[in-house]
Amino acid sequence: MNLQRRYWRDRIMLGLVILASLVVLTPLLIVIWYVVSQGISALNLDFFTKDLGSPTRVRFGQPTGLAQAIAGTFFIDMAALVMAVPVGIGAGMMLAEYKEHPLNPLLRVLNDTMNGMPAILKGLLVFTLVVRPSGTFSGFAGSLALGIVMLPIIARATEGALTLVPWSIREAGLALGLPRWRVILAAVLPVARPGLVTGVLIAFARAAGEAAPLLLTSLGNNFLPRNAWNPLEYLTKAADTLPQRLYSLAVSPYEEWHAMGWAAGIILLALVIVVFLVGRLLTRRSR
């Protein structure tokens, strides 16, 4: 093949690669631009302080907002974190620090499989285990489902972060006569902390955007509970969350609700972006 033709092929391929990249990035950036430009007008004080109520409220121009979804998201996601973080970090620790443990091969395969399982199946699992026997949809069931979404991500990230810690640190601890568990908690964990926090944040971002499992477990609720600051009011009854509310608003027939749906989209996007920025800051500082 002559040289000129090879050079041309090289250039054409570079062109194709750039074209492919634009094909990927443009529509997704357009989506973000749409969400922000359509939703910004609905982001006012009422959005954060009033609950949604029935559709008549918006048609008669009364103030509505998504306070019940914001509060519900906060409490349900926090409860999910409380359940998933210790178990996930523990499982990750076992994978990374006790490599010889006989449970590990099975644990690793099942953890990766659970990570790849559709989130809706995690919702169905909690539905059959908790909602069906108890006879009621509840925020707690929702946080259990989200916890199952977070768990394998946290375990995987923990394993990765702990594996990066050099063995010399463990050897130094063991040489001082510390037992293995003290070495792990006092010497390995602090070194790996930025990685652990980043993993937890990514798991949180992933779970906070999930709507499907919540539709099957916490269902949704248009109203703020009477005592809006009491987490139990959300966890024991059907409760609202932003992604599931965004879905209901988007498929509703009301213009005003569509605008609030876009605004809920802004909040979810902002959440993801903030989580990523914090994670990046943490990993950069540790280097």
């Binding site: 090289d10 492919a20 449970l103 199946l121 059959t128 955007g209 099957l216 992604p243 965004l246 990523f276």
Partner: protein, 316 residues
């Protein structure tokens, strides 16, 4: 004194490992519970219609109590395969740009944007699809094509379908958009793992940049890229919200291009609240059970490809 600290530490070690084992076992337990509970609830419909009979039944009619999952299985496979086919090459292009061509600052920026895009919640893409993309496609693509076909090729109308904007093509497009950052991130990581010597050898033979890629880099990264594509396929299979919002939700066989259809996750989420009858609800759970089985096979398949085809990976 020395003996007490030693026994104390041994007890500490034992207790610590016990706690970790309990945590590890709970991950295992969740996976087992998922298979068991879904299987148990699926038992009713499966006994009634048969293991394969349920899967291949083409009628899904809650009113008469006939449940067959074939329309949804077909809808899931069509949308996922088409979405992967649409998104694979562009994703590979972006991965190559970031891993091979781009200067460091640009590569960092692309990586960051791709990771961020992969984390966009699917409902956010869904609301864009339902309020912007679907009406736009209906008015400027589907309706003109159907209008043209009515004039010139009426025999083709049967497979074009009703151009409401909500149907197979719209759902597939958004699904492709949704998995493309994910495929990109996995392909990029696979390409980054290719050792520098591999490239240098090709450069040393006087290869152009594209030839280096084609001869040295892509063959080496093949396994990782393939495993990533399979994982993306698995993600497309289970994607629920964006598809449920855009596919039009019909329990008929997905035989038309623009017309409504359903996928396995979308039918679960759409009919869930209306399923008052136990057989109907259990049939939805049975669909979940099959989705679990398919997803299991896909994920184990990806792990297998990773182990077999990635050089230097010894199977740990």
């Amino acid at each position: 004194m020395r003996i007490t600290t030693r026994t104390g530490s041994r007890w500490g070690d034992r207790a610590f490992l016990t706690i970790l084992t309990i945590f590890g076992l709970s991950v295992v337990a969740i996976a087992v519970l998922m298979a068991w509970t879904l299987g148990r609830d699926a038992l009713g419909p499966l006994e009634r219609f048969g293991f394969f009979g349920f899967l291949t039944g083409t009628r899904w009619d809650p009113v008469s109590g006939t449940f067959g999952a074939w329309p949804f299985l077909l809808g899931t496979l069509i949308t996922s395969v088409a979405a992967l086919a649409l998104s694979f090459l562009p994703a590979l292009g972006l991965a190559i740009l970031s891993a091979e061509y781009a200067p460091k600052w640009l590569a960092t920026a692309i990586d960051y944007i791709v990771d961020l895009l992969a984390a966009i919640p699917s409902v956010v893409l869904g609301i864009w699809g339902i309020l912007v993309l679907a009406p736009a496609l209906r008015d400027s693509v589907y309706r003109p094509i159907v209008a043209w076909a009515t004039e010139n090729a009426p025999s083709q109308l049967a497979w074009l379908g009703n151009p409401t904007g909500y149907g197979l093509v719209t759902a597939t497009l958004v699904l492709a958009l949704m998995i493309v950052p994910y495929t990109t991130a996995l392909a990029r990581d696979a390409i980054r793992l290719v050792p520098a010597e591999q490239r240098e050898a090709a450069w040393g033979l006087g290869a152009t940049r594209w030839e280096v890629l084609r001869m040295a880099v892509l063959p080496y990264a093949r396994g990782g890229i393939a495993a990533g594509a399979v994982l993306s396929f698995g993600r497309a299979l289970g994607e629920t919200m964006a598809v449920a919002m855009l596919i039009g939700n019909s329990a008929r066989l997905p035989l038309t291009l623009f017309g409504p259809a359903s996928t396995m996750p979308s039918v679960i989420v759409n009919e869930f609240r209306e399923a008052v009858n136990t057989l109907h609800l259990n049939s939805l759970l049975a669909i979940g059970f099959y989705l679990f089985l398919i997803s299991l096979v896909v994920n184990l398949g990806a792990a297998w490809i990773q182990r077999r085809l990635v050089p230097g990976n010894t199977g740990l």
